[in-house]
Amino acid sequence: LKREIKKIISAVWVGIICLVFSSRLSTMKAASICPNDQTGCHLLPLANLFDRVIQHSARMHGISDDLHSEFELYFLPSKNQIGRVSRNCHTSTILTPNGKENAQRIAREELAEIILKLLVAWRDPLWHFHQSMSQHDEFTNFSSNKSLEMSDMVHELRKGVLKVVEKMQMLGIISNSVGDTGSPEALLTSDSAEWRFMKDYDLLYCFRRDSNKIQNYLKILKCRIVPKHGC
């Protein structure tokens, strides 16, 4: 009998605590969106979206950096992290702004499109890279997991950027010309064979560079569109 009573009391406590927390959470939710500033209120979710996407791209770049360093162990480490000059990435065909001014000068739609193009271009090569990595025994599970994570992140990031673009189009910030350029067939027809010939190390080097590009472009885009929210 005592045990039953104790069970009941503990259940009641748990219920009370849950209620308290849920009420807290709900109040927090209610209070977070759109504080006093009403004019810029509709931009807040967009800024949040941007932040999330930028964080995502930063993490992607971090992983690519780690993998690249690991690969360098198999090769002679170069002084400035360039071992060969003959490297040519398959994304070289995509015209990207090479400096801050250039990135700030081009149209926002173009910048968004470039980002999407880059993300699309890397989807298949990273997947194949992961496949080839998992087959080689000399790579640790750690590296294999990272390559898979990288491949997934490209996927997720592309979806995230598409959402941001959608939101921007909805808010009327950019025109509707930015479509889903993610039809990979269109891109890959031109250089479908190129990335297959790239060696793993070169591929990692290229992706590291491109992930940094994506990161920078996203940040610049955010600070151009929603400059007040943490730039």
Binding site: K2, G62, K79, N80, Q81, I82, V85, N212, C223, C231
Partner: protein, 611 residues
């Protein structure tokens, strides 16, 4: 001679080779090369070179820097856009800087001698070393109560050269601090915010703090910033304050401990107050009226298996697989026998005396071994299987007075009023019944399966014997006494050689009036054996002996245990009191269908009963 010459020449050659190699390796002049290329803001960069140890270079201007941007296959070498010959530096401004594109640099001297190294190729984002932060200052966060240590918040501004506001560069900061006279620096974790707390600095010691930056995701750190000095003088606390805090803390702790002790010691009371006990459930079959009247014996009877909600079920399950456990059945005639005497009116008596009983008192069980004491009148055609019931058999530990059981009829009731149980020697090797109550407490279980009973409530039986004898003849007529359950003790001999002999349940004809459907249990009035033939017609009454005891005396002989007499139509167990009827002589035995165990009904028995 020639050999010597040859050897000498060989030696000379070798030494010259060695010297030449040595010179080449060690003393070879270093060609002009680049020492470092660095960018501060990811928009411009500069490279420094050194002329090496070539002597034929007269002036620094002779070396020229050429670079190549590998962004197209048709790129060509271009000269450095901005020289600073004083520093031997080549500066690339924003117009000439492209990020994410490999640059290669080479030095060219006179006569177009080029000194080019593959390692001098890079991308600008990989050579970024941001400037250190500016405007460092610190504020005191908090001092520990003892005044010995304190925490400090250091804040700063990002380097002006790094374009953090547009997000072009994402910078992380690393703080390092050390004591004034220490040699090693303590480094905190790199983080992107422009302020950080340093914990645990000692008062009275001066600390030196500096910060450096790096790009997020890239490994190269910039230079350290200028150091700032942090110092907090010791504040001697008033001793009284310290004492007061100590006293307060200890006092509070002591009070808490006291409260805990009180709570723990009076746990029960507190539990009662906070969580009052839930009233116990009503036991099925027990009439609360009985409780009020104080019929404790009846309660005992019920609780021990009189009603269906009693204990018996589990015991029957428990003993289901134990072949040695048998139910002892008390015959109706046994009750009759017991009616005369106090002892015999008790169930334990019957229990004990079953194998020893004379003709009139007990029905012999199926064991042929237990023939002693069995009269010829008793049927021996009772199947053993029917009579063997699985239950905890109550084995009397004390032998009974054999004579008393053997000749119950002959003895006058008064003579049987033994106040104490007669213990019979177990010379026969048979379990004997002591003149104890019908229900006795099991004091021990023998390995062979018998049960040792302890003397029961003999006194109660003594009291009631007189009354029982008086009301002998009134049982059948008194319907009001149907309320009280009557029961008989059924003792089962586990294996025939045990302590108790099996007593086949006597068929007892219960008068229809004795059945009270409204009760949870029914009382079966003991009746003379003459009416037995009529009894079998009623299926639920056939195998049982109905003790003929007055209603008031129903519970008298029952001390702690009750016997399930039979099942009635309502599937309730009928408990019979030991009857005080005189055992009818040579009554025809009704074939026992299913003897009922003491207080327990096994499933198979149940089936037999109900069938």
């Amino acid at each position: 001679m020639i050999g010597l010459l040859c050897c000498a020449s060989l030696l000379f050659l070798l030494t010259s080779l060695f010297i030449g190699c040595f010179k080449l390796l060690i003393l070879a002049p270093v060609e002009p090369h680049f020492t470092e290329c660095m960018s501060r803001d990811l928009e411009t960069f500069r490279c420094w070179w050194s002329p090496g140890t070539f002597h034929n270079l007269s002036s620094p201007e002779e070396l020229r820097v050429f670079y190549l941007k590998r962004n197209s296959p048709s790129s060509e070498w271009k000269e450095c856009p901005e020289y600073s010959h004083l520093n031997r530096e080549c500066f690339f401004d924003a117009n000439h800087t492209s990020i994410w594109i490999p640059y290669c640099l080479q030095l060219r001297g006179q006569n177009n001698i080029t000194y080019f190294n593959e390692d001098d190729c890079f991308s600008v984002e990989n050579i970024v070393r941001p400037d250190p932060p500016v405007s460092l200052n610190w504020t005191l966060l908090i001092v520990s109560p003892s005044g010995l240590s304190y925490d400090v918040m250091v804040s700063w501004e990002p380097p002006p050269s790094a374009d953090v506001s547009t997000g072009w560069m994402r910078i992380e900061y690393e703080i390092q601090y050390r004591e004034r006279n220490a040699t090693t620096w303590e480094a905190l974790e790199t983080q992107p915010h422009t302020q950080q707390t340093i914990y645990g600095l000692q008062a009275g010691t001066e600390y030196e703090v500096h910060i450096r930056t790096k790009m997020k995701g890239f490994p190269k750190f910039g230079d350290f910033s200028d150091s700032i000095f942090v110092k907090v003088t010791e504040i001697p606390l008033r001793e009284s304050a310290v004492l007061l805090t100590l006293v307060l803390t200890f006092g509070v702790a002591g009070i808490l401990i006291l409260i805990m002790l009180i709570v723990v010691s009076h746990q029960q009371r507190l539990m009662m107050i906070l969580l009052p006990p839930v009233p116990a459930p009503k036991i099925k079959g027990i009439d609360s009226e009985l409780l009020k009247k104080g019929k404790l014996e009846e309660l005992d009877f019920i609780l021990n298996g009189g009603g269906l909600g009693g204990l018996p079920t589990y015991i029957s399950d428990y003993y289901q697989d134990e072949p040695w456990v048998e139910f002892i059945e008390v015959d109706e005639e046994d009750a009759d026998c017991g009616e005369k005497e106090d002892q015999k009116s008790s169930d334990t008596q019957r229990l004990l005396g079953l194998p020893q009983r004379s003709v009139g008192c007990f029905s012999a069980d199926s064991h042929p071994d237990d023939d002693s004491g069995r009269a010829s009148c008793y049927d021996t055609d009772l199947s053993e299987q029917d009579t063997h019931l699985l239950a905890a058999s109550l084995l009397p530990g004390q032998p009974e007075d054999e004579e008393a059981f053997l000749h119950p009829d002959e003895k006058a009731p008064a003579s049987e009023t033994n106040k104490s149980p007669l213990i019979q020697t177990e010379s026969e090797g048979k379990p004997t019944w002591i003149n104890t109550d019908l229900y006795a407490q099991v004091s021990n279980v023998m390995p062979s399966g018998g049960v040792v009973l302890s003397p029961g409530q003999q006194l109660r039986i003594q009291e009631n014997t007189e009354k029982e004898s008086q009301k002998k003849g009134t049982l059948g007529e008194d319907t009001s006494k149907l309320n009280k359950p009557q029961f008989q003790l059924l003792v089962v001999d586990p294996d025939g050689s045990g302590y108790t002999s099996e007593i086949t349940a006597r068929q007892i004809s219960t008068p229809p009036s004795s059945l009270v459907p409204g009760e949870g249990y029914q009382t079966i009035y003991p009746q003379p054996m003459e009416t037995k033939p009529a009894a079998p017609s009623e299926p639920n009454q056939s195998p049982y002996i109905l003790p003929d005891s007055p209603q008031t005396r129903l519970f008298a002989p029952v001390a702690d245990y009750t016997v399930v007499q039979e099942l009635d139509t309502h599937q309730s167990l009928l408990l019979n009191l030991p009857t005080q009827q005189p055992p009818p002589p040579c009554l025809p035995q009704h074939p026992l269908k299913a003897p009922v165990a003491i207080g327990y009904v096994t499933p198979d028995l149940l089936g037999n009963l109900s069938s």
